[in-house]
């Protein structure tokens, strides 16, 4: 199986006020097409920095060190010009952010924001983009989508906003979605609904998901494989079964020990 995404020896450094911070310190992994991979690790371990490096949105205070490589669909993303990269974003690689309330544009109707994904990627016909948006909003479970498409973000609940984010991210059926803690801002019951929706959409369109999370319960429920990061390094890369039943790294065992019992998967057999 050829990989959809290959990250090789990725090193990301933030230029700090006093000294530089190595946010990502030599990380290598691959994601296959259609695969759901978890990226877990404590706060500050470099998960978001890895995600932003992949989608090419690290701020100007960060730099990717030479020797790093990110290949996606056979292209070297680190050598891609900004126009070509922009063409990939939203069409082939999409991102779902943690806080949909902050990630949606407060002064734009949600339908327009979904339609924008189509409009920036070559759809000329505004009416058709709008129809696509309404259909997608309906698909993600926005009740009365045609009407709600005209709502502004602040008129929707947190769960609905995150559904809108999913609609935006998956509208053009990208081959990779990076979800950076997509449910941690939501209530527990809503979290489950949004997660299962993400998985449904992912299966429908054959999209691979890189799921960044603190929550090993989420990992157990949704992912087939997990990458564990600590202080910028990848300390474990295992199938979810192995991760829960035969963790190799002490840090992974600590993470597991910190997890509430109920959320753990039942041992097989």
């Amino acid at each position: 199986m050829t990989a959809l995404l290959e990250v090789e020896n990725l090193r990301v450094t933030y230029a700090g006020a006093q000294r530089d911070v190595a946010a990502v310190a030599g990380v290598s992994f691959a994601v296959a097409p259609g695969e759901v991979v978890a990226l877990v690790g404590e706060s500050g371990s470099g998960k978001t920095a890895t995600a932003l490096a992949i989608i090419g949105l690290l701020g100007e205070s960060a730099r990717i060190e030479p020797g790093s490589a990110i290949r996606f669909e056979g292209r070297d993303l680190l050598r891609l010009g900004e126009p070509e990269f922009r063409d990939l974003r939203g069409r082939r690689i999409a991102m779902v952010f943690q806080d949909a309330g902050a990630a949606l544009n407060p002064v734009m109707r949600v339908g327009e924001q979904v339609a924008e994904a189509a409009l920036v990627h070559g759809e000329r016909d505004k009416a058709r983009a709008r129809a696509m948006a309404v259909a997608m909003l309906d698909r993600v479970g926005l009740p009365d989508a045609a009407r709600q498409a005209r709502a502004y973000p602040h008129e929707l609940s947190g769960g609905m906003k995150q559904r809108v984010m999913l609609a935006i991210a998956l509208l053009l059926k990208p081959s990779l979605v990076i979800a950076d803690e997509p449910t941690s801002a939501l209530d527990v019951t809503v979290q489950r609904q949004v997660l299962s929706l993400l998985l449904e959409l992912q299966r429908e369109s054959g999209t691979a998901v890189l799921m960044i999370t603190h929550d090993l319960g989420v990992v157990a429920e949704t992912c087939s494989r997990a990458l564990v990061m600590r202080r910028g390094e990848l300390v474990e890369s295992a199938t979810v079964d192995d991760l829960f039943h035969a963790p190799r790294h002490a840090y992974t065992r600590e993470l597991l020990a910190a997890m509430p019992r109920l959320a753990r998967p039942v041992p097989p057999g």
Binding site: I55, L57, G59, E60, R86, D87, L88, R89, G90, R91, A94, M95, F97, D99, A102, A103, L104, N105, P106, V107, M108, E116, A117, V120, H121, H154, M165, I168
Partner: protein
């Protein structure tokens, strides 16, 4: 802001703008014309014929106030438009510029800001002498854009880095579209507030400069000129001081109200 306060503020602004626009209709006589008998008609108290009285030279204060409004408001609007335009161009250019240029542009703005506005205007006027109203407006505008440019710069940088901008960029939205659909809406309240504040600052500045004889030359009526015309002994003729002062104070207060009103809806939206 209370409803009454808002009503008063908008009412005042509407009245002042109305007077400025309709001055030739509201006061058809030449505002510099002397009374029929200049000696007899000096310093007349308000009456039916002269609702706001007459001044030392027997001119009708009502007519001069109306025409003065036209000049003072024009100066304030031109200066405010310049301030907003320059501050907007400077601040947003810096916000989108590479790091080194951005720093240099903001340092320049700080230098301009650190020289007191009055000092700039006074030094220019020392060179040029008294200026026609439009030229004075340009000088006031050129001297006053720096603080607003910093505010707009900050807001534009914040909007560029906002999560909603980042998510739009993750969607492949280009720079131009980001500027118009994310950065510009975030600047709008600051632009409105900045414009109101600019008017509120320029009006007393023009009045003071003209009052001290270095602003708009005689005999052109402006709000500052009317105060000057009250002469050395205004106590015997209260109407020469009270009416122009009241108009200046009411206008400045109303503009400050509008400025805080521009900020207010944003605060409530953020509180949600």
């Amino acid at each position: 802001m209370s409803r009454v306060g808002r009503l008063l503020a908008y009412g005042t602004v509407a009245a002042v703008l109305g007077a400025a626009l309709a001055a030739p209709v509201l006061a058809p006589r030449d505002p510099n014309a002397l009374g029929d008998d200049p000696t007899r008609d000096r310093r007349l108290a308000p009456s039916v014929q002269h609702p706001l009285g007459t001044d030392d030279l027997s001119r009708d204060v009502y007519g001069r106030l109306i025409h003065g409004t036209r000049v003072s408001v024009s100066i304030a609007l031109i200066a405010a438009a310049l301030i907003v335009a320059i501050a907007f161009a400077w601040g947003t250019t810096a916000a989108f510029a590479p790091a080194w240029l951005r720093g240099a542009m903001m340092i320049f703005a700080d230098v301009v800001y650190s020289v007191p506005r009055l000092l700039v205007v006074l030094s220019v006027l020392t060179f040029t002498g008294q200026l026609a109203p439009a030229t004075l407006a340009v000088v006031l505008g050129l001297a006053g854009w720096a603080p607003l440019s910093r505010i707009l710069y900050r807001a534009a940088v914040a909007a560029r880095r906002a999560p909603s901008t980042e998510s739009a960029m993750a969607l492949g939205v280009g720079r131009v579209r980001i500027a118009f659909s994310h950065v510009l809406p975030a600047l709008r309240p600051h632009l409105v507030e900045g414009a109101c504040m600019a008017v509120a600052v320029v009006i007393p500045l023009e009045a003071a400069l003209t009052y001290f004889g270095i602003g708009v030359p005689r005999p052109t009526a402006t709000w500052g000129r009317l105060l000057d015309d009250a002469g050395a002994d205004p106590l015997g003729a209260w109407w020469l001081v009270v009416f122009p002062s009241a108009v200046i104070a009411a206008t400045v207060m109303a503009m400050n109200y509008l400025a805080s009103d521009a900020r207010a809806p944003r605060l409530t939206a953020e509180a949600k």
